[in-house]
Amino acid sequence: MSRDILVIAEHWQGQVDGITYQLLTKGKQLADERGVGLSVLIVGNKLENAVEVLKDKGMDTLLVIDNPALEKAGAEVYATIIADTLRRTAPELVLIGYSLVGMELAPSIAGRLGATVMTNCVNVEILDGEFVVTRPLFDGTIHAKIALDQGVPAVVALQRGATPTEPLAAKAASVQSVAVDMQAIPVRSEVLELIEEPPSEVDIVKAELLVSIGRGIGDKEKITIIEDLAQALGGLMACSRPLVDLGFLPRERQVGASGKIVAPKVYIACGISGASQHLTGMSDAKMVIAINKDPNAPIYQVAHYGVVADLFGIVPALTEAAKNADSEAVS
């Protein structure tokens, strides 16, 4: 049996997460290049709908572990089940999302398998017959290309949005249900409750224009200049994680891996350096404008327009210009 490329599907209570399709696109590309099959593994409870949604999306095999005991199972139970399955199916490469879920699972699965694990990857490609990942180092100021040893199973965790998502040619997958003996799996941690934040009044996901603020704002009092700009442009204010950690803004405004994933028409990043956790949340924006004093800030990797200047000069000027344009339009 040729050794497949295998994608671990991410889902929330049976609802397939978009990162799964990104992994599928990348997985298909690698599988075709390698001349091997593409498998997807989905693990959870009540997966009928997820299987229905996934089974014609271009993979050869869909492995399903659907067990009521998994409803409240902790990460280590998932890691045990996934590692056991991977040991049997022996894929050459495993792709998983570098989401908070994947960040918890990837090292654990790899540890159990004795696999090489590469996380936070922005790409994986085949060069001279080897899998080569690209990943950031040193706060994103450096990227490295790293070749994975052949013959050793490898787990690669890909950043959300780092590689494109394209629909694959429809194809009926061979759906295989994998039996698991839950009694044999030691359970130590126990999930007590799954919590989903109620929809907030402010929904930055739906906004067409976001003015987003990072650590560069310095003081909480200065946030008003960002609010003014967002209002003048008819958009909403958003922020990066540090501002939520500092208590400057509520979590509903946060863009990034641990916050909201947004794709507005215009994203204006003010004083945001662009840590990968932030870029993950906004790199699909149609137009990205970055205002940051540091010309080497990673935010410029994804920006279309950059202003290397003090945000306290440019932001009020832009607010003023937007207000003037509006009043001209009215009069």
Partner: protein
Amino acid sequence: MKIAVLCKAVAGEVSEVKIVPGGKALQYQSQLLNINECDEYALEEALALKRAYGGEVTVLTMGSITTQNVLYLALAKGADKALRIDAQIQDSQAASIVLAAALRTLEFDLVLMGTQSRDTLSGLAGIATAERLGIPFAFAVTQVEMDGERSIKVRKELGGGRSADVKLPLPALLCVQTGIQPLTYVPPARMTRARQQPVRSRSLGDLGLTEDQIVPQGYRFLRVFPPERTGHVQFLEGSPQEVAATLLAKIKEVV
């Protein structure tokens, strides 16, 4: 409760990053070493748990003598003991071997650390260490409380505004999220006093490890380079008013 906190010393900025022949490590010039921000939150949480439930906080770091400042900072903030592992390791898996060995020499109920270090950006070391110790773990933790005598209840983030409450038996390892506690300021006088406190150090040999056990496995670096700009950024120059006018025109084209 006995808590061990793992605090990494990381470079603020690096330059002249090169691959060491053989491709297993990088060499680089770096400025000041500071506490990894994510780990500083873990330290604050450890101290908050000590205030709430009593006990002892031991802080560990790994690196040369220059990383010791991180330990003094932790002592100044209120940690009880400090231990430096005298080893310089870049690979996260290798680091987890050493950290697990060091933790085995301590008594602990809980191990705390951040989710990711700003140099490797891998987010691997914590869970890899828990796996080696064979203890339960949770990632991206935002709340911790005792739940009975020998277990804790934690809330962990799952992304997109979702989270889970999980009960874990002790001992356990938690990678905490930034913002779990406010960061506290340390007055210089307290830092000076902390520098008088003893810091133990352990070599790899002390931990029963040899150099060949910590050789990175499974990969080699091919190339390091400044990140490519996917957005083909166009930098705008001029007075704030000129730049604002250009930006506004660009914005009006799409919304």
